[in-house]
Structure formats: C-alpha cells, structure tokens
Subunit: 184 residues, 2 copies
C-alpha cells in the first residue's frame, strides 16, 4: 500500500455513471476498512440528473484540511465533457484514466505521461450486460495500478454501499477491472 | 421554500448514527429533486467506525465554491462529542438541533437563540423499534422548521438512497420528524 501525505482523486463523468458511488466506495474502503483518513465530496448542479457529475476523494495518513481535489494525483474521466473540463487540473505526473467509450479527444494528450485509455463502459456492457458497473470496474483498475487502496477493501465497501441485489455483479466488475489493471 | 445564497448544514454524531446518509439524502433532495446546487462532503477518520462522524451539505441557488460548512446555518448534533466539538461553529442566529438522547450538556446553551432539543433516538427506538432512523426523523424536523427542503423531496431522495427493505420505515420516520417540527 502506497503511503502519501495527501492523495487527491477526482471521479468525473456524466450523471448516472455512478461517480458519486465510486467516491463513497473509495472513501469507505480507505477510511472504514483500512483505518486511514479520507474526505469524500460530491458536487451537484441543477443538471445533476443528466449533466456532468464529479466526486472527489482525498486520502491521507493524517487529518485533512481542504476537502476538494484541486490538483488531482488521479483523475478518472468517463465522458467527453468531463475530459474536456477537468484534464487540465491533473497534477504534473498525475495519472489520467480515461473511459474511451464516451471520450474521443483528450486535450493535451501528448503531454500526459501517465495515461490509460480503457473502454470500461463498453467492456462492462459486453461482459456484464450493462455499462453501469464501469465505475466499479475503474476502481478495480485503480487498485491494481496505484495500490492506493486494496482490492479487498473495495470489496468490503461495495458490500456496505451497493444495494444487495447488485452486490455480486459489482464484485465481479471490481475483479475484472483489477485484472485489466494487472494485464496492462 | 426559503431561498438563500449559501446555506450551510453540518450533520454531526457518532459513527453508525447515519450522518453520511443524512447528508446524501439532503443533497439528493435539494439538487436532483429540486434542481438547485448542493455540495455534500463527509470526513472519515481512522475512528470512523465507532468514533465521531460529520457530514456537510451546502445549498445554494448558484454554483458553490468552498465545499465545507465553516459557519453552519444549521447544526445537527446527535451525540455529546459532536455537541462539545461543533456547537461553537454555529453561525450567529444559526439553528441548533440537538438529539438529547445522547447529549446532556450544550456549551454556551444560554446564548443560543434558535435551539431545539428533541430526543430523536429515544423516540425512534420507542416508536419504530430502532434508534437508527433518528437521522431521517431529524431531516423531517428540519424540513418542517426551516423550509430549506421540501418533505416530498426528502421522500424521493430516501427512495433513491436507502436500501429497499428499509425505505418504508424511513419514510415513516421522515413523516414523524416532520410532525414533530410542525408541533413544536
């Protein structure tokens, strides 16, 4: 498990892509399961139902002051709008993970050193019959790539946060995302 | 519905008293159902499982900058620790709602003009067989007292956020809290 004094994550996408759930699961995994500090926040606009959605998680080994990711160490973008809007915030040498199902253009792509382009939503639809678990698949990928949170902790958090009837599906998606992260 | 440029709420209590859920339900109700701006944030420490828990919601009619409640207009305290720690943050003329089941002493009580002391957890245990819906009862009370969010919007948000098997129980608790607010 990588230890950092302050690790900023922003999950961004369209409303309905589960960015808020991704943030809650990540924060629960880090804080409740792994006993570290986390702050989770979510911004909702009047367009929350259909428009863009952003959820931040700050992870630290000590108490956290400012609760928003101003320069994310890790940015997940799940649609074109959020990619266009938030990619510029990425910290130098930060990690950009892009769901290419709904993103065709990444601003400043050639200058981004740590970039993974994976069609999470397309894979989720083809393997699980729904794109709605792409968020959890991305969490598995993040666990494999960064070690910032353990896969097992994410699984525990999923059991707490996800509606009972969808828990198994989400655990499979987590596993698949983790595999993808280990393969790439 | 009262309109304010920035209305800050802090839900504070022990881990397990549902402060994070209260914040999520409030933010969903305001933003997704009522189409206004909201920011929800939750702080987790290593003590999250058993220790104190705090969840903030900022409501606005325009985009929100700083996501944390620095001087809450409304503070809910559900246990002694959070009461002792957070009461001093309350904005002048702010509203303090105190669950007296687990709070026996309010610092500076005589100077707080807008104070309601209600044993939500005791009432919830006696009327619904569990103290765990005290958080939602408090939301109903807040709706009745402040008008900052409609009861119907909270009910919609509960249907989205609460596990299916507990939805009806929580809707009853919401209604009971609202009644209490109208009576007092």
């Amino acid at each position: 498990m990588k230890k950092r004094n302050r690790y900023e994550i922003a999950f961004t996408g369209a409303g309905g892509q589960g960015m808020i759930l991704a943030g809650l699961v990540m924060a629960d995994a880090v804080a409740i399961v792994e006993n570290r500090y986390a702050v989770q926040s979510a911004m909702y606009g009047p367009e929350a139902r259909l428009g863009s959605s952003r959820s931040d998680v700050i992870i630290s080994d000590s108490e956290i002051g400012y609760p928003k990711a101003t320069r994310p160490d890790l940015l997940l973008v799940m649609n074109q709008d959020s990619c266009t809007k938030y990619t510029k915030l990425l910290k130098e040498n930060g990690l950009l993970i892009c769901d290419t199902t709904y993103v065709s253009y990444i601003p400043g792509e050639k200058d981004i050193k740590n970039l993974y382009k994976i069609p999470f939503s397309r894979i989720a639809r083809s393997e699980f019959g729904t794109p709605l678990v792409a968020n959890i698949m991305a969490l598995g990928f993040i666990s494999a790539k960064t070690g910032i949170v353990k896969k097992e902790s994410l699984a525990e958090a999923i059991k707490r946060r996800v509606k009972e009837k969808f828990v198994n599906l989400n655990l499979k998606a987590l596993e698949r995302g983790y595999e993808l992260g280990k393969e790439m």
